[in-house]
């Protein structure tokens, strides 16, 4: 039941965000020409697609799945997965840590960012000891950096602090 209520809220939220997106894209697409000689112009398909998106997002916002009018079920009934509220914290922490990791790359580069992210995640979420967390973070950060930078030849960002 809880999962269903959350799904209902998520449906409406996603639908509203997509309505805003579709309207913005429709506005941008209408600035382009919709026809060209013998064929469609560059704006035609974006207009069609944004109108389609707008219609389906509106339907979802007005009639979320529980009340959706023509309920076309899937060929296979799949049981709804239970949602555990308490674990949202881990999901949010992980997402925030990944975002911080990405931002930190500009400053400490990929090696530093990977090591810091791994250390913080293992320490805060898995609750390993500081020494074990640091050891894993250094080994994993080093392995990943070596694999991509040295073996695959990808030029990874060294970061402002370590860049020459």
């Amino acid at each position: 039941m809880l999962g269903r209520v959350q799904s209902l809220g998520a449906e409406r939220l996603i639908a509203l965000l997509l309505i805003i997106f579709a309207v913005a894209e429709l506005y941008a697409a209408l600035q382009l020409s919709v026809s060209a000689e013998f064929t469609l112009g560059p704006g035609a398909m974006p207009v069609i697609y944004s109108v389609g998106l707008l219609i389906f997002a509106l339907v979802l916002a007005i009639w979320p799945a529980q009340k959706a009018p023509p309920v076309i079920e899937n060929p296979v009934d799949v049981e709804e997965e239970p949602v555990v509220i308490g674990n949202y914290r881990i999901g949010v922490i992980t997402f925030v840590l990944v975002a911080v990791f990405v931002a930190s790359i500009y400053f400490v580069g990929f090696f530093g960012g990977t090591a810091i992210f791994s250390f913080l995640y293992i320490l805060l979420v898995l609750r390993w000891s500081v020494i074990k967390s640091a050891a894993f973070a250094l080994v994993w950060g080093g392995a990943l950096y070596y694999g991509f930078d040295r073996l695959l030849g990808v030029q990874l960002e060294p970061g402002i602090l370590f860049g020459s």
């Binding site: 996603i14 974006p46 555990v84 881990i90 790359i105």
Partner: protein
């Protein structure tokens, strides 16, 4: 050249030790992915896709395809031993597999699944080999209108047959199509919907989208909704238990063959896929059984049929992928992306332009199936051990590989940020029950569909009649219309039945 000589040439290429190593690595990684709940084959291919950037196309495709069909094998292990399906196609295996394990017959369940998967997977590959040449010859007659029609068919089938409410499927489809138009227009060269951003001139990257939606978002979903993982006596298994007895083999051979046939043909249909194939096979076996009431209590046919079906379906999915360039699911959409990134366009010309890659890939799947048979019989204790050890640190590994991998494709931090946006979107989609596969497929095929449409109109001097005067187009549009209307007709018929 005949199918046999082409396949022979493919096997000749597979003698390369490096290809055999990559085939083993791919199938091993696939089995591991199947074992680990929460990390599906599409996520794993997406995460590992950047690693193959710049590699020899056949080497890359052999390993990525190995992940795809290997996952079908691996999902069984946790379904049987822990009652936790490693991926959706193995959900049905828990119905009888886990009760078998509780009765001390977990080894037999794993054995029948491995042998059934091998037989059906090989059967599917034989069908694939036989069908590939005639279909691709036929597909060579395709012009832009036929291409457009086949892509419309793929969009409709994926949205109408995919799991979930049809409105949500079409919502995802239109979002993907709209995103595919971002960037420079292929015909006029004008930039579209970029809002002044230089990073978007090349369009919305496919890799950030799939890695975000299928890699990170799935990982976060799994963290929030962890599968119960408890070591029980059923999870301990001896190697000799996995070998099937002759009586069990005779009893399940029919189920394996039926599952193989059903699975292959379901797998060919875009949008249907391995999960539906396994459920249909379970239903079929139950219907054919003399003791249907015993299903759910540990019937070995209830494991053999579905496991055979999901493996054959993964072979079937390669038919539209290789001959028409049409992905039928999220995983095959990611594989199509891999083809494109590696400089190979899947479709009718693939067989003639890159026969070495196509037939090398098909041959690798035969070899991979043999490798998987041995892996899934001999290495079960190792997979269980790896599941215990790696499960906790998986988020660290997946997150860092996603970030570094996405960056490595174009050395672009914008792609990494884009991946994070798609992660949030992918998780939102999961919460709202909106499938991600239509979005990804639309993102992959959207630009080609638009280009084919506009090219067709140029050919016909602007007349849309071109789509209704060519026989292949008419047939394809008719099938698309039927797929679109079928759920409505079915619901109407159900309603009539209920009122009677």
């Amino acid at each position: 050249m005949t199918m046999l000589s082409l396949l022979g040439a493919g096997f000749e290429r597979m003698w390369d030790p490096w290809l055999l190593v990559m085939c083993f690595a791919g199938t091993f990684a696939g089995t591991l992915v199947g074992v680990l709940p929460g990390l599906g084959p599409s996520a794993a291919i997406a995460v590992l896709l950047p690693l193959t950037y710049g590699a020899d196309p056949l080497v890359a495709l052999v390993s990525l395809a190995g992940i795809y069909y290997g996952a079908m094998y691996g999902g069984t292990i946790t379904s049987v031993l822990l009652n936790v399906p490693g991926e959706s196609a193995s959900v049905v295996t828990t119905y009888d597999g886990y009760p078998m394990a509780r009765q001390g017959r977990g080894g037999a369940a794993l054995g029948v699944a491995a042998i059934g998967s091998f037989i059906a997977g090989t059967l599917g590959l034989i069908f694939l080999s036989v069908l590939a040449v005639p279909l691709s010859t036929y597909a060579l007659d395709f012009g832009p209108p036929e291409y457009f029609a086949v892509m419309v068919l793929a969009f409709v089938m994926v949205s109408s047959l995919a799991r979930g409410n049809m409105i949500k499927c079409f919502l995802a489809l239109f979002l993907g199509l709209l995103l595919s138009t971002v960037g420079q227009d292929v015909v006029s060269g004008e930039t579209r919907l970029t809002w002044g951003s230089l990073e978007l001139v090349d369009g919305v990257g496919f890799i950030p989208a799939v890695v975000g939606m299928f890699g990170l978002a799935e990982m976060i979903h799994d963290l929030i909704n962890p599968s119960e993982f408890v070591a029980t006596p059923t999870s301990k298994i001896k190697l000799r238990d996995v070998f099937l007895t002759w009586a069990d083999f005779r009893r399940t051979f029919g189920a394996m063959m039926r599952g193989g046939l059903l699975g292959f043909f379901v797998g060919v249909l875009p949008g249907a896929g391995a999960t539906i194939a396994s459920f249909l096979s379970y239903g079929l076996e139950k219907r054919l059984s003399k003791t249907p009431e015993k299903f759910g209590t540990g019937m070995i046919e209830g494991v053999a049929g579905p496991e055979s079906a999901n493996n054959a379906a993964s072979s079937g999915a390669f038919v539209p992928l290789l001959t028409l360039g049409i992905p039928g699911s999220g995983s095959t959409a990611v594989l199509i992306g891999a083809f494109i990134i590696l400089g190979i366009t899947p479709g009718p010309r693939l067989m003639t332009e890159h026969p070495d890659v196509t037939w090398g890939l098909i041959a690798s799947m035969y070899v991979g199936n043999v490798m998987l048979l041995f892996q899934n019989i001999l290495l079960v204790p190792l997979f269980i051990w790896l599941l215990r050890v790696s499960r906790n640190i998986m988020p660290v590994i997946v997150s860092t590989v996603c970030v570094v991998g996405v960056y490595s494709v174009d050395n672009s931090m914008s792609d990494v940020w884009l991946m994070l946006i798609f992660t949030a979107l992918g998780y939102g989609f999961r919460l709202a029950g909106i499938p991600g596969a239509p979005l990804v497929i639309a993102l992959v095929l959207g630009q080609s569909a638009e280009y084919s449409l506009r090219q067709s109109l140029v050919i016909s001097m602007g007349s849309p009649a071109i789509f209704f005067t060519r026989p292949i187009c008419i047939v394809l549009f008719a099938i698309a219309l039927a797929c679109l209307l079928w759920p409505l007709v079915r619901d109407r018929l159900r309603g009539l039945e209920e009122t009677e």
